[in-house]
Symmetry: C2
């Protein structure tokens, strides 16, 4: 039978709590659907950093290279600056493995209460497609007149034609399998060199997909529309920064970011892809056993789908929906269950 080889990196904080449940549910799915999960666990994290002075070994990326996928919990802990924890682990994996398509589905689940008035389950159903390897992120730039009154820092955002086109194409391809509607997040009226370029490439790409309805909103009013009219959206494509913002805001509108998953895809499958929850390491509740495991488990479902196990992936989604609707649920979604209880319930609902 098929064996799926996964590198799991629980990371920090609640990453360690929810990873256990993700593995539990994936193992249960494997048993049921007749394939084998072969896990190798990596303790790369802020604790690892404290011991070794780096978030992962120098050959860390190479150690991951031959796995089918990477399954990540969460990275970051107080005391270790972000430029070390994130730029030493999460972001190098995204970049070295050219995981340029960051896919974040958002769905208002039965049993989950939206903070928006009057929204029914299913009425929010969109997919954020985020560019994941270039754009606004990074350390490119320079200081001028450092240490003087006239000090200034200049940050550079890079948009390559290849980078922009491939994420736009990915968004249109996704839309063809969904509602055939792509919304582009822009800010060409303010960021008046990079975003007009983004708009231009979007208009060109749209010509290849005459069946797909398109529109675009400046990021400011787009965030307002997520709150006012979340049902307007199907696929929403954005740059690294705009996609990041929208993929926290949209799940919040759909109830909670605790259940939102994130697939960092290398669509050409030259390198492994990585699957993680959208939420972070949440140091304030780490180790308390109350973190919601659904984001991690949903990310696991996306991983199985990516690795050729669509039935198992769909079965996990049904199990998540059942348990969110009927309980047991963790406190953040109105229940009293622990992380483990909710994870076990999802595994047995399979």
């Amino acid at each position: 039978s098929t064996t799926i080889r996964i590198a799991s990196i629980p990371g920090d904080g609640i990453g360690k709590d929810v990873m256990v449940e993700g593995i539990r549910v994936l193992d249960a799915a494997a048993t049921k659907f007749g394939f084998r999960m072969d896990w190798k666990h990596f303790d790369w994290s802020c604790e690892y950093y404290a011991r070794h002075g780096a978030m992962m070994p120098a050959d860390g990326i190479d150690q991951l290279r031959d796995f089918d996928s990477v399954y990540l919990g969460a990275v970051g802990f107080p005391g270790v600056p972000d430029h070390i924890s994130l730029w030493g682990l999460l972001i190098p994996i995204r970049r070295e493995f050219d995981q340029y398509a960051n896919i974040r589905p958002v769905y208002l689940m039965p049993g989950v209460k939206s903070p928006l008035a009057g929204r029914e389950p299913g009425s929010i159903n969109m997919m954020i497609v985020r560019e994941n390897t270039e754009g606004e992120y990074g350390t490119q730039g320079r200081f001028e007149n450092r240490g003087t009154e006239d000090e200034r820092v200049i940050g550079e955002a890079t948009f390559t034609r290849k980078g922009v086109d491939r994420i736009l194409r990915y968004a249109f391809e996704q839309a063809m399998t969904r509602g055939r509607h792509v919304t582009s997040a822009t800010k060409s009226n303010g960021l008046a060199i990079t975003m007009p370029y983004w708009d231009e490439r979007f208009a060109l790409m749209a010509r290849n997909y005459p069946e797909v309805r398109t529109d675009q909103f400046h990021i400011d009013i787009l965030t307002a529309q997520f709150v006012r009219n979340p049902d307007w959206f199907d696929v929403v494509v954005g740059s690294n920064l705009f996609g990041d913002i929208l993929s926290d805001l949209a799940p919040a509108c759909a109830g909670t970011i605790a259940i939102a998953p994130s697939a960092n895809l290398n669509p050409e499958r030259i390198h492994p892809s990585m699957f993680e929850p959208v939420h972070g390491s949440a140091p304030d509740i780490a180790g308390k056993g109350i973190a919601n495991p659904v984001g991690q488990i949903w990310a696991g479902s996306m991983m199985l789908d990516h690795l050729g196990q669509p039935e198992a992936a769909a079965a996990i989604m049904r199990a998540i929906e059942t348990v969110l609707a009927e309980g047991p649920r963790t406190p953040d979604v109105g229940g009293k269950a622990t992380t483990v209880e909710m994870g076990k319930a999802i595994a047995s609902a399979l």
Copy 2:
């Protein structure tokens, strides 16, 4: 008696509709509180551009220089690209007059329905303080390998020590007059050169205000918190881009961006300040007489406050609250009134 000399620029679309009501209410306030409004109207707009090939005359900025303030409607219309309409009128005024503090109060008014479940009038009450003259906005940058497969565009965001410090200071000073709480919008985990600098200056500035409670959120989770916990916030300070996003999102959470005002302040009063609604020119409803005039009128109240007429400013706010609660209201806030009817009602509620 005091005379207040205002340059009014209705601009485009609904800017022309709501400006009439703004002037009506300010004139009524002047009569009641014993000062004189002296208006000079400028027809600078996309129509002006169609006739003259520029959004304003070459000496436009100089023509505005000696007014007490500029009162703006909205700028932009389909057919004229943003880099012409906005960068030819709105943004040069902000920059030439060094209106670095963009102040956008957000308040859930009686009579206005929040899209967020269970929020009562007054439960959202914050002030977005946005840097308005530098940061991510602009055309600085370069193209490389233009026209080839390896084409890339690199945009530059500039943060000067002076520019960052003065907006942070302004935010802390505002907080001292309000809830003594400042939240900084950052993204130092991703935009890893400019935003760590912003954080560093924020931490330094906070030392000067030991009475003020501070916190900071990355922009992604901050947008989620605006939806989940809008009552957490008092003064929120952000860069040009982050402030722009938050000041559309927050009013949407508080019901509608149609009522939100924006003060572009030159706090040192070396140059005139500018007051405008947050909403744009809304070409789809322009000329239909249904635009909500409250954003324009509230901006007028901020202008009077800035120009030494705090009682008149406060009276306008009370009149706005009365009419929003009791009607007549425009359709966007659940009524059937026209722009003119609502404007007249606010003027007579004075």
